[in-house]
Amino acid sequence: MREMAELEELWSAASPSNGCIICGRVGQDGMRVFGQLICHACEREIVQTDVEDEAYRRYVEQMKLIWLSVLSL
Protein backbone atom coordinates (compact mmCIF):
# COMPACT_ATOMS: atom_id res chain seq x y z
CA MET A 1 0.00 0.00 0.00
CA ARG A 2 2.80 2.36 0.89
CA GLU A 3 4.43 1.71 -2.44
CA MET A 4 1.18 2.59 -4.16
CA ALA A 5 0.98 5.89 -2.27
CA GLU A 6 4.57 6.70 -3.20
CA LEU A 7 3.85 5.91 -6.83
CA GLU A 8 0.79 8.17 -6.81
CA GLU A 9 2.82 10.96 -5.26
CA LEU A 10 5.49 10.49 -7.89
CA TRP A 11 2.88 10.44 -10.61
CA SER A 12 1.27 13.67 -9.46
CA ALA A 13 4.71 15.33 -9.26
CA ALA A 14 5.42 14.18 -12.79
CA SER A 15 2.13 15.52 -14.09
CA PRO A 16 2.76 19.00 -15.41
CA SER A 17 0.96 21.76 -13.53
CA ASN A 18 0.58 25.49 -14.01
CA GLY A 19 3.18 26.13 -11.35
CA CYS A 20 6.85 26.73 -12.07
CA ILE A 21 8.80 23.60 -11.04
CA ILE A 22 11.47 25.76 -9.43
CA CYS A 23 9.65 28.52 -7.51
CA GLY A 24 6.15 27.04 -7.49
CA ARG A 25 4.50 30.29 -8.57
CA VAL A 26 1.42 29.84 -10.70
CA GLY A 27 0.46 31.85 -13.78
CA GLN A 28 3.99 32.84 -14.75
CA ASP A 29 5.20 32.97 -18.35
CA GLY A 30 8.06 30.71 -19.22
CA MET A 31 9.13 27.67 -21.16
CA ARG A 32 7.77 24.17 -20.84
CA VAL A 33 10.16 21.27 -21.08
CA PHE A 34 8.16 18.07 -21.49
CA GLY A 35 5.22 19.97 -20.06
CA GLN A 36 7.06 21.15 -16.92
CA LEU A 37 7.06 24.93 -16.58
CA ILE A 38 10.19 26.90 -15.80
CA CYS A 39 9.24 30.56 -15.43
CA HIS A 40 11.35 33.28 -17.04
CA ALA A 41 12.80 34.48 -13.74
CA CYS A 42 13.85 30.97 -12.68
CA GLU A 43 15.28 30.20 -16.12
CA ARG A 44 17.45 33.31 -15.80
CA GLU A 45 18.50 32.21 -12.30
CA ILE A 46 19.45 28.76 -13.60
CA VAL A 47 21.51 30.23 -16.42
CA GLN A 48 23.47 32.30 -13.91
CA THR A 49 23.74 29.70 -11.19
CA ASP A 50 26.99 28.17 -10.05
CA VAL A 51 27.52 24.80 -8.36
CA GLU A 52 28.58 26.68 -5.21
CA ASP A 53 25.22 28.48 -4.93
CA GLU A 54 22.90 27.59 -2.09
CA ALA A 55 19.99 27.10 -4.48
CA TYR A 56 21.92 24.70 -6.73
CA ARG A 57 20.91 21.52 -4.94
CA ARG A 58 17.25 22.53 -5.26
CA TYR A 59 17.63 23.13 -9.00
CA VAL A 60 19.16 19.67 -9.37
CA GLU A 61 16.26 18.09 -7.48
CA GLN A 62 13.60 19.99 -9.42
CA MET A 63 15.15 19.09 -12.79
CA LYS A 64 14.25 15.51 -11.95
CA LEU A 65 10.58 16.42 -12.54
CA ILE A 66 11.42 16.96 -16.21
CA TRP A 67 12.85 13.45 -16.35
CA LEU A 68 9.85 12.01 -14.52
CA SER A 69 7.73 13.62 -17.23
CA VAL A 70 9.87 12.06 -19.94
CA LEU A 71 9.49 8.62 -18.39
CA SER A 72 5.73 9.00 -17.93
CA LEU A 73 5.16 9.91 -21.57
Binding site: I38, I46, V60, E61, M63, K64, I66, W67, L71
Partner: protein
Protein backbone atom coordinates in the same frame (compact mmCIF):
# COMPACT_ATOMS: atom_id res chain seq x y z
CA UNK B 1 16.63 6.70 -14.94
CA UNK B 2 19.16 7.12 -17.67
CA UNK B 3 17.39 5.23 -20.43
CA UNK B 4 17.12 7.37 -23.51
CA UNK B 5 14.50 5.23 -25.27
CA UNK B 6 11.66 7.54 -24.23
CA UNK B 7 13.41 10.63 -25.51
CA UNK B 8 12.45 12.27 -28.80
CA UNK B 9 14.90 11.89 -31.67
CA UNK B 10 17.58 14.52 -32.24
CA UNK B 11 16.66 17.39 -34.55
CA UNK B 12 17.32 17.05 -38.25
CA UNK B 13 19.70 19.59 -39.74
CA UNK B 14 16.79 21.51 -41.27
CA UNK B 15 14.76 21.52 -38.04
CA UNK B 16 17.75 22.74 -36.06
CA UNK B 17 18.50 25.48 -38.55
CA UNK B 18 14.86 26.61 -38.45
CA UNK B 19 14.90 26.81 -34.66
CA UNK B 20 18.32 28.45 -34.43
CA UNK B 21 17.18 31.22 -36.79
CA UNK B 22 14.34 31.90 -34.37
CA UNK B 23 16.40 31.57 -31.18
CA UNK B 24 17.36 35.28 -30.98
CA UNK B 25 13.65 36.26 -31.01
CA UNK B 26 13.44 35.03 -27.40
CA UNK B 27 10.48 32.73 -28.07
CA UNK B 28 10.45 30.25 -25.13
CA UNK B 29 8.94 27.48 -27.28
CA UNK B 30 12.08 27.57 -29.45
CA UNK B 31 14.30 27.07 -26.39
CA UNK B 32 11.98 24.31 -25.09
CA UNK B 33 12.23 22.45 -28.37
CA UNK B 34 16.02 22.82 -28.54
CA UNK B 35 16.32 21.52 -24.96
CA UNK B 36 13.91 18.60 -25.37
CA UNK B 37 15.50 17.40 -28.58
CA UNK B 38 19.02 17.58 -27.15
CA UNK B 39 18.29 15.70 -23.92
CA UNK B 40 19.81 12.55 -25.43
CA UNK B 41 23.11 14.38 -25.33
CA UNK B 42 22.67 14.89 -21.58
CA UNK B 43 22.09 11.16 -21.00
CA UNK B 44 25.04 10.25 -23.20
CA UNK B 45 27.44 12.58 -21.37
CA UNK B 46 26.06 11.85 -17.88
CA UNK B 47 26.74 8.13 -18.40
CA UNK B 48 30.42 8.85 -18.90
CA UNK B 49 30.54 10.03 -15.27
CA UNK B 50 28.65 7.09 -13.74
CA UNK B 51 31.78 5.76 -12.04
CA UNK B 52 32.29 8.95 -10.03
CA UNK B 53 30.04 7.97 -7.14
CA UNK B 54 27.36 10.51 -8.06
CA UNK B 55 24.09 8.81 -8.97
CA UNK B 56 22.87 8.95 -12.56
CA UNK B 57 19.68 10.87 -11.62
CA UNK B 58 21.79 13.71 -10.22
CA UNK B 59 24.22 13.60 -13.14
CA UNK B 60 21.38 13.84 -15.64
CA UNK B 61 19.78 16.73 -13.71
CA UNK B 62 23.09 18.58 -13.52
CA UNK B 63 23.59 17.96 -17.23
CA UNK B 64 20.11 19.39 -17.88
CA UNK B 65 21.14 22.59 -16.09
CA UNK B 66 24.18 22.68 -18.40
CA UNK B 67 21.94 22.21 -21.43
CA UNK B 68 19.59 25.03 -20.34
CA UNK B 69 22.64 27.27 -19.97
CA UNK B 70 23.89 26.20 -23.40
CA UNK B 71 20.63 26.99 -25.20
CA UNK B 72 20.40 30.35 -23.44
CA UNK B 73 23.95 31.43 -24.21
CA UNK B 74 24.40 29.90 -27.65
CA UNK B 75 25.30 32.41 -30.35
CA UNK B 76 24.04 31.15 -33.74
CA UNK B 77 26.26 33.67 -35.54
CA UNK B 78 29.38 31.82 -34.31
CA UNK B 79 30.51 29.05 -36.61
CA UNK B 80 30.06 26.30 -34.07
CA UNK B 81 27.44 23.55 -33.91
CA UNK B 82 24.90 23.65 -31.10
CA UNK B 83 25.64 20.02 -30.23
CA UNK B 84 29.35 20.82 -29.85
CA UNK B 85 28.68 23.86 -27.70
CA UNK B 86 26.00 22.09 -25.62
CA UNK B 87 28.26 19.06 -25.02
CA UNK B 88 30.94 21.36 -23.67
CA UNK B 89 28.44 23.13 -21.38
CA UNK B 90 26.93 19.85 -20.10
CA UNK B 91 30.32 18.31 -19.42
CA UNK B 92 31.58 21.48 -17.79
CA UNK B 93 28.54 21.63 -15.49
CA UNK B 94 29.11 18.04 -14.35
CA UNK B 95 32.85 18.57 -13.91
CA UNK B 96 32.29 21.70 -11.81
CA UNK B 97 29.87 19.77 -9.62
CA UNK B 98 32.30 16.87 -9.18
CA UNK B 99 35.15 19.24 -8.35
CA UNK B 100 33.05 20.95 -5.70
CA UNK B 101 31.97 17.58 -4.30
CA UNK B 102 35.55 16.35 -4.06
CA UNK B 103 36.57 19.58 -2.35
CA UNK B 104 33.85 19.14 0.28
CA UNK B 105 34.83 15.51 0.81
CA UNK B 106 38.45 16.53 1.33
CA UNK B 107 37.52 18.91 4.13
CA UNK B 108 37.84 17.46 7.62
CA UNK B 109 36.97 18.92 10.95
CA UNK B 110 39.62 19.62 13.58
CA UNK B 111 37.22 18.07 16.09
CA UNK B 112 37.03 14.86 14.10
CA UNK B 113 37.63 11.94 16.52
CA UNK B 114 40.42 9.76 15.16
CA UNK B 115 40.17 7.15 17.85
CA UNK B 116 38.43 6.44 21.18
CA UNK B 117 40.29 4.73 24.04
CA UNK B 118 38.86 2.25 26.60
CA UNK B 119 37.78 5.09 28.86
CA UNK B 120 35.88 6.73 26.05
CA UNK B 121 38.38 9.57 25.59
CA UNK B 122 38.42 10.78 22.03
CA UNK B 123 41.65 11.48 20.25
CA UNK B 124 40.88 14.49 18.08
CA UNK B 125 42.61 15.53 14.89
CA UNK B 126 43.51 18.80 16.64
CA UNK B 127 45.36 16.78 19.33
CA UNK B 128 47.85 15.37 16.87
CA UNK B 129 48.32 18.42 14.67
CA UNK B 130 51.53 20.39 14.95
CA UNK B 131 52.06 22.55 18.00
CA UNK B 132 54.38 25.50 18.44
CA UNK B 133 57.28 23.35 19.65
CA UNK B 134 56.74 21.19 16.61
CA UNK B 135 57.27 24.09 14.26
CA UNK B 136 60.73 24.68 15.75
CA UNK B 137 61.71 21.10 14.96
CA UNK B 138 60.27 21.49 11.51
CA UNK B 139 62.41 24.57 10.89
CA UNK B 140 65.47 22.68 12.09
CA UNK B 141 64.67 19.78 9.79
CA UNK B 142 64.24 22.21 6.93
CA UNK B 143 67.66 23.67 7.66
CA UNK B 144 69.32 20.25 7.65
CA UNK B 145 67.53 19.33 4.43
CA UNK B 146 68.68 22.57 2.85
CA UNK B 147 72.30 21.93 3.82
CA UNK B 148 72.11 18.40 2.42
CA UNK B 149 70.62 19.76 -0.79
CA UNK B 150 73.38 22.34 -1.27
CA UNK B 151 76.04 19.69 -0.57
CA UNK B 152 74.46 17.49 -3.22
CA UNK B 153 74.21 20.41 -5.65
CA UNK B 154 77.95 20.99 -5.27
CA UNK B 155 78.48 17.60 -6.88
CA UNK B 156 76.77 18.76 -10.09
CA UNK B 157 78.36 20.55 -13.00
CA UNK B 158 77.90 24.31 -13.19
CA UNK B 159 75.36 24.02 -15.99
CA UNK B 160 73.34 21.36 -14.13
CA UNK B 161 73.40 23.45 -10.98
CA UNK B 162 72.19 26.51 -12.87
CA UNK B 163 69.24 24.57 -14.30
CA UNK B 164 68.26 23.27 -10.86
CA UNK B 165 68.59 26.71 -9.28
CA UNK B 166 66.45 28.34 -11.94
CA UNK B 167 63.81 25.58 -12.05
CA UNK B 168 63.27 25.30 -8.31
CA UNK B 169 64.04 28.89 -7.35
CA UNK B 170 66.96 27.90 -5.11
CA UNK B 171 68.26 31.04 -3.49
CA UNK B 172 65.69 33.30 -5.16
CA UNK B 173 62.48 31.56 -4.11
CA UNK B 174 61.17 32.14 -7.65
CA UNK B 175 60.53 28.89 -9.51
CA UNK B 176 60.66 28.95 -13.30
CA UNK B 177 58.90 26.68 -15.77
CA UNK B 178 60.89 24.33 -17.97
CA UNK B 179 59.98 26.53 -20.93
CA UNK B 180 61.24 29.69 -19.22
CA UNK B 181 64.53 28.02 -18.30
CA UNK B 182 64.84 26.65 -21.85
CA UNK B 183 64.26 30.11 -23.34
CA UNK B 184 66.72 31.70 -20.93
CA UNK B 185 69.48 29.21 -21.66
CA UNK B 186 68.69 28.97 -25.38
CA UNK B 187 67.99 25.22 -25.37
CA UNK B 188 64.85 23.23 -26.08
CA UNK B 189 62.27 22.44 -23.41
CA UNK B 190 62.48 18.71 -24.07
CA UNK B 191 66.23 18.88 -23.50
CA UNK B 192 65.62 20.64 -20.16
CA UNK B 193 63.08 17.97 -19.28
CA UNK B 194 65.56 15.18 -20.01
CA UNK B 195 68.38 16.95 -18.17
CA UNK B 196 66.13 17.61 -15.20
CA UNK B 197 65.18 13.95 -14.88
CA UNK B 198 68.84 12.94 -15.07
CA UNK B 199 69.94 15.58 -12.57
CA UNK B 200 67.17 14.66 -10.11
CA UNK B 201 68.26 11.03 -10.30
CA UNK B 202 71.85 12.07 -9.61
CA UNK B 203 70.74 14.25 -6.73
CA UNK B 204 68.77 11.36 -5.31
CA UNK B 205 71.92 9.19 -5.46
CA UNK B 206 73.95 11.89 -3.72
CA UNK B 207 71.27 12.21 -1.05
CA UNK B 208 71.24 8.47 -0.46
CA UNK B 209 74.99 8.51 0.04
CA UNK B 210 74.69 11.27 2.65
CA UNK B 211 71.85 9.77 4.70
Amino acid sequence: MGGSEALPPPLTKEEEQYLLERLPSGDPSVRSMLIERNLRLVVYIARKFENTGVNIEDLVSIGTIGLIKAVNTFDPSKKIKLATYASRCIENEILMYLRRNNKLRAEVSLDEPLNVDWDGNELLLSDVLGTDSDTIYRNLEDEVDRELLYDALDKLSERERTIMELRFGLGTGQEMTQKDVADLLGISQSYISRLEKRILKRLQREFNKMM
